[in-house]
Amino acid sequence: QDLTTVNAVMPKQRSANYFPLIVGEALGYFEEEGIEVNLLPSDTPIPFVNFLRNGQADIAMLDSAEVLQAVAAGVDLRVVYEVMQTAPDGIAVSGESDISDVEQLRGETVGLVSDRDRVTMQIALDARGLTEDDVTTVVVGEAGPTLAAAFRDQTVAAIAGSGPDWLAIQANGIPVSLITPEEVSNKPGNTFAVAAGTLEEKGDAIEGYLRAWSKGMYVATFAPDVVAKIAQDAVPEEWEDPEFGQQYLENAIRLNVSVTDTLGGLNADTWESIQPGMQKFGLIEKQVAPSDFLEPGPVEAANDFDRAEVEQEVEAWRDANM
């Protein structure tokens, strides 16, 4: 049977962090849609929208800043789904830190996971009447021991980053608390975006992709044990310490499962409210209307599946495999 390949560019390797993909693949949801996912994990400074534009990728996982930047720069982009609604960027401190609010950061050193998190910090500081000059910033690097040690040893007072960045650290037993101000957390999470033309040429495949993803996400809401089993088989590297694996997955489920009733639902208001801050700190030159790039059609299609049927299938799978 001929499967259409959907090239999906995402920031990380196949991981429990992307369990909807893993579950969808294991339970055959993508196949049912007649598609096959080609995951392109890419940790490059090349913005993913470029891969959408030159056709190397059909769909990309973008954070809200990248979306707004690209749209403001005139890229004809369509946001079709909001993944990780509860994983927006934020400010984190060690669980053992005395700091409980951003305003306490005056005169302290603030770590940035990467240079792109500077805006998150700027907006957060601004919300408490501080500016970048009131703190010292240092880039501490992405996930890994360096970041973990920064939390554990409190070499920096706070760290600006996004949900997936602390996932492994928390799962490893290093306490992390969030002190993200309202103004920052009230912001879209990561999204799936496509080039405008893709919807015309490959609209069915994209909708199929999102539906399969949604079904995978939905499984976690009622059968986390099945998800754990699937993740363990797909990415055993994350389960060498089973306790860690379990914890990691639980955190990932929290980040991934949509809080809106419609899975992956788009919220125009938050897209509206985040822009003044970004403009203020020079990330975007002009504000754009959310209606120019939000494309609600595919989300509807993605939610168009029979939840009971999914539940039955999962039960059957559990009986067969566990």
């Binding site: 400074p45 930047q69 720069a73 240079d115 792109r116 501490v140 690097g141």
Partner: protein, 289 residues
């Protein structure tokens, strides 16, 4: 003089011509769609970005000098380390036997894999970039110096021995000078390697530097500026390389006819100068050469 200028100008003009032809070819290829201009912008766009970075906004300089500092620091530390290990290995066979496997091991281990450890030890600042630069660049210096120090001409060595020279004298008056050309060849590789190390570290974790600037420009969708930053790295490498070449030219003067003539004239002048001084002031200063 005129001839001399002309003889330099003509090849330079030819080089420029070749360069211009390449740029024109690139521009044309982009124009007819052979090159994806989203990812690899056209030369004129890159030129505009260079103007922007260097003249208009002058954003590049801070990052440029930070990376320069890191690369130079890495080179100095790594070079000194390589020299020290090579000298130790050249003087003592068992030192060499037990050190060289680890030297090779460190050389074949990708620098990128070492960044977390280096950052853990040296922190988030410049010293971790310098450290990684040093780790990746010590090997060429080590190998070249070791080989050069242990391969002195046998007859010249005997000549020194027949004069009753001590091992120390042989080391300083024969081994070191005759090893210099090859040591400098090692330096030339090491300096670009140190830059690579610094940039690798910057890509993993850094607050400023050309690597950071390139990432930043790239994220803000300004590919032509990102390429301009990339070219600035090349420029930096070229500058560092040329720096060593200039030093090489000065220190290993006896390999270049023109420099040798100059040194030769200077030494003659010093001698004749000293003769004159002496005739005026009978008890001339004693000075060892």
């Amino acid at each position: 003089m005129k001839d001399h200028l002309l003889s330099r100008a003509v090849p330079l003009a030819k080089h420029l011509l070749v360069f211009a032809a390449l740029i024109a070819f690139w521009e044309a290829a982009a124009a007819i769609g052979l090159i994806d201009v989203i990812l690899l912008p056209e030369p004129h766009q890159i030129a505009a970005s260079i103007w922007d970075l260097y003249v208009e906004n002058r954003t590049i300089y801070r990052h440029f000098f930070i990376t320069l500092y890191e690369a130079l620091g890495g080179f100095l530390v790594g070079g000194a380390l390589g020299l020290a290990l090579a000298v130790g290995s050249s003087l003592n066979d068992s030192f060499r036997r037990y050190v060289s496997p680890y030297a090779i091991l460190l050389n074949v281990t990708p620098g990128l894999a070492l960044t977390p450890i280096v950052i853990a030890w040296f922190g988030f600042g410049y010293s971790s970039k310098i450290a990684l630069g040093a780790i990746v660049c010590f090997f060429p210096v080590f190998v070249n110096t070791l080989i050069a120090l242990t391969r002195s001409d046998a007859e010249t060595l005997e000549m020194f021995r027949s004069m009753g020279a001590s091992e120390r004298q042989i080391f300083w008056k024969l081994r070191v000078p005759s090893a210099l050309p090859m040591i400098f060849a090692g330096f030339k590789i090491a300096i670009t390697t140190a830059l690579v190390g610094a940039v690798v570290a910057e890509f993993s974790q850094a607050t400023a530097g050309i690597g950071v600037l390139m990432q930043r420009l790239s994220f803000s969708l300004d590919m032509s500026a990102a390429i301009a930053a990339l070219l600035s790295m090349s420029l930096l490498g070229l500058i560092l390389f040329t720096l060593i070449e200039l030093l090489d030219d000065r220190i290993v003067f006896w390999r270049r006819a023109a420099r040798m003539d100059a040194v030769s004239r200077k030494r003659r002048a010093r001698w004749t100068g000293e003769r004159e001084k002496q005739s005026g002031k009978p008890q001339g200063r004693r000075r060892s050469t």
